[in-house]
Symmetry: D2
Subunit: 289 residues, 4 copies
């Protein structure tokens, strides 16, 4: 049993606040020979809640990788009521992409994937249309065409879940996927489905936000990436950004300018997620970056 495979481990912790938690956690790492590479913590005083991200070098760490979860649970997680997540730097996150017919987000993601910007695997792309099939396959990613109708939705979701399981997927990105997932589906991937919505939520939820923005005469448009929850466009927000617009901008201009915001906001959310920078709690996110 060797630690050599794993360069570093990262723990995300979320628990009731109490005196000395930083000291207690660093003590656990330190006393086992771990060298802390990165440590960030946040206390939400309103909720009396403690959040921590700690990454440490495993090269001299006394606890073997496959015993680490158990050891941590016993020593810290259970006594301090911690919600936690452990990951290792040598295990690439596996991301599935759901897409419909809007191309820009997927093209942007494929470019980042192909140029090595993201340290992840994309084992599959699922779409209810065939429009992006060629682009997916040009990038060497298996593409599954699963059209959805009201009648077939339940069956298609079953098929999707089977595919996700077969490909050992860690999280899902909805890259402008124009279908609403069932509550049941979403509950199987808590804080593991990332959506990009094309407005600065909570303004303009639902369909056609650029048309609504135009009609309201706003001077900014925006995009929001968030974890998907049962309530539409209401999950914990990971990132938002905006672009300024003028009276000269038509709806088409808003759509065009908005695409660039969407791409960047979605890519930042993915970056944060795959680098274990995000803890969602009570419909808010702590983002350590």
């Amino acid at each position: 049993m060797s630690n050599t495979a794993a360069a570093s481990a990262t723990l995300l912790i979320n628990c009731p606040d109490r005196k000395g938690l930083v000291h207690i956690v660093t003590q656990f790492i330190y006393s086992n020979g771990g060298n802390v590479i990165d440590l960030e913590q946040h206390v939400d005083r309103e909720d009396n809640r403690f959040f921590m991200r700690i990454e440490w070098d495993l090269s001299d760490f006394a606890i073997p990788v496959d015993a680490l979860s158990g050891a941590f649970e016993k020593a810290l997680a259970n006594p301090y009521e911690m919600q936690w997540q452990l990951s290792f730097s040598d295990r690439k996150p596996r991301m599935a992409v759901f897409v419909s017919q809007h191309e820009h987000c997927l093209y942007d993601m494929l470019a980042r994937y192909q140029s090595g910007e993201w340290d992840l695997e994309i084992p599959l792309i699922i779409s209810n249309h065939t429009k992006m099939q060629a682009a997916a396959e040009a990038a060497g990613i298996p593409f599954y065409h699963l059209p959805v109708t009201k009648e077939t939705k339940a069956d298609v979701e079953a098929e999707q879940k089977a595919l996700l399981q077969a490909h050992d997927v860690d999280f899902i990105v909805l890259a402008r996927y124009m279908q609403i997932l069932s509550d049941d589906f979403i509950q199987q991937f808590p804080n593991r489905v990332i959506n990009i919505h094309h407005s600065f939520l909570p303004a303009f939820p639902g369909a056609k936000p650029y048309h609504s923005a135009y009609a309201r005469g706003v001077k900014i448009i925006g995009a929001t990436s968030h974890y998907v929850t049962a309530e539409l466009d209401a999950g914990p927000i990971i990132e938002q950004d905006v672009a300024h617009v003028r009276h000269t901008d038509t709806v088409d201009d808003l759509v065009r300018k908005g695409r660039d915001v969407e791409k960047v906001v979605l890519s930042r959310a993915i970056w944060r997620h795959i680098n274990q920078k995000v803890i969602a709690h009570n419909n808010r996110t702590v983002v350590f970056d």
Copy 2:
């Protein structure tokens, strides 16, 4: 009768679009000896609506200042169904300020006024509290303390209107005035009451937007300046801007960061208004800048 008092005139025009309108308007100026200083036009193709701002030098202009409205109406406004507004560079706009207890916007406005940034007059400040009286008077501006209760509201508004008339006020700025004006009041100042709302509308209308923003976990906050209409926080938007926030920001931090956005967004709206840069139409604004 002489034009020498007025350096330049500015016309804001808003009418159904038709072929040759720019040519027709410039012909009117040009043939009367005016030299165009600035010209901006915009056609809203969706509404088939024409908007124009034209400023010209009056030094060689053939039509006397006090005959200009009549001449323009006869030659252009009536035949082309124009809504229009005429102003002269030697007539400073007169701005009334309504304020409650939030100080930052008023302090910021007074600083701009005192340093000469704004070419306007502030003949009076009206407040339902006395908190800002000393600041107003230090700037040499008459301050009227008019407390408002549910019962006295109608009487107080009558008093306010009398004061505004007595001081020959052109437009009103609600610098975080925490009272809702009656529809009747608002209708007497169409597109002449500017409000600053402390959120990026249409998100978080109404009271306590920073608390709502915190609860929703947004990653941006913002402010919106708009003309006041009968529907609360729903009038035509003149300017919006945002600031990025993080999980480390408490509600108090949002309030603090938001104040800086509010001040700047309000001041930009006032700048645009007093420089005749804004045309409101159908709950949207054309902003020529």
Copy 3:
């Protein structure tokens, strides 16, 4: 001889200011049966210089397309000393791309090209490396591998110019092309070579701006798109934008965050250029949008 092929014409004008220019130009269009679709003008009072962009519908226009240049020159350009540029909406601009080994800008451009965001042709991509050959060819664009050394530079530029001419290229985009073009080359494409520089110029010209930005400890990084002139990184700026950075960002983080700014800033410059929104004069640009 028919105008039916061309939906609209656009004129960019740049000349000494004088009284009545808007009127004179609109008169030319109007009297020949043209319907103005868009008109923007700007007067630089410091330089006493007039700039105009006017687009008009050709469907009822009396002057045939191929006689238009001559007619405009005789009627307006010559008497008023106008520099001008005429384009037609049915003639797609032809853009060549020069690229080295940085992938992100080219990937982004290809995605916009393939999704139809840009109304242009890309007849060829030229590179001193083969890294992007597969991506170019996957998009169906001819790729020319022309390695450059100090010794071969003159010959390679001759070859490049021959290719550009053979492909009837209108303008060139340097999508992170890491070679400096000769003055002679640049002078053959005045205001027709667009570069993206990875800093907010004039800060950090030359090589390795992100390293310099890190060393200087700046809190913002940026990107600049500009027309290339003989002086390195000193040509007229078309667009700039920035991103905020923190002490937690390493040089690699700056590079990563900067890529997103570069892509967007370059794409906005291309959009403006192909939509005839830019007039360069005296090392500054007027951007009508």
Copy 4:
């Protein structure tokens, strides 16, 4: 000897990185009965340098306030070669302001001071002009008029230093003070003189940056707040921000728009400084916020 006067203490630490530093520092606090309120740390891997900000509640803390420095020095600072700074929440920082004739930054600072936004004292304002005397005195702040000429500079600086000492000043803000301080003066206040420069440094250092920005044709302008060092406009940057500008903006417009950026950027630097959020090292800053 009682701790009751001080609600909390804050330590800023800056030292060579080594294993376990977070653990060691928290151990010191924790073992003495302190409750950590806030903890932030950063490791600069390139410099192998450790930075930390830790704030803890003093109510149950075993070490008396006036023995704390000595205890910390012996236990931690000396063995670990720490540069450090200790402050207490019940001791308001004392800020001197130097100003010349530009009003906007001082007005903005006075408004924040008067409205209680900043938890600090302003014991004096020093100016080489009398323009801002009335505003200073209206805010109840002693104003010293110390005109400077080339000949008197050394004497004036001596007088300034005497005043600063007499008023027990902690740090100095140059609110658009148009005089260059001597190296000797600056060295007496290391990282304790904050300047606001009206450009996005390193672009446009020195005088008249807005004129230079206009001449260069940039599409963004900005402001930079930094600690003053011997080299002009080259000290460690605390905050920067920008505003977008267009070809329609004259130099006067840049100045006007820039003022709003300057005010906000300076105020953020002051906020960070008085809340002990900044550690300067090697001409860069770590900003914990």
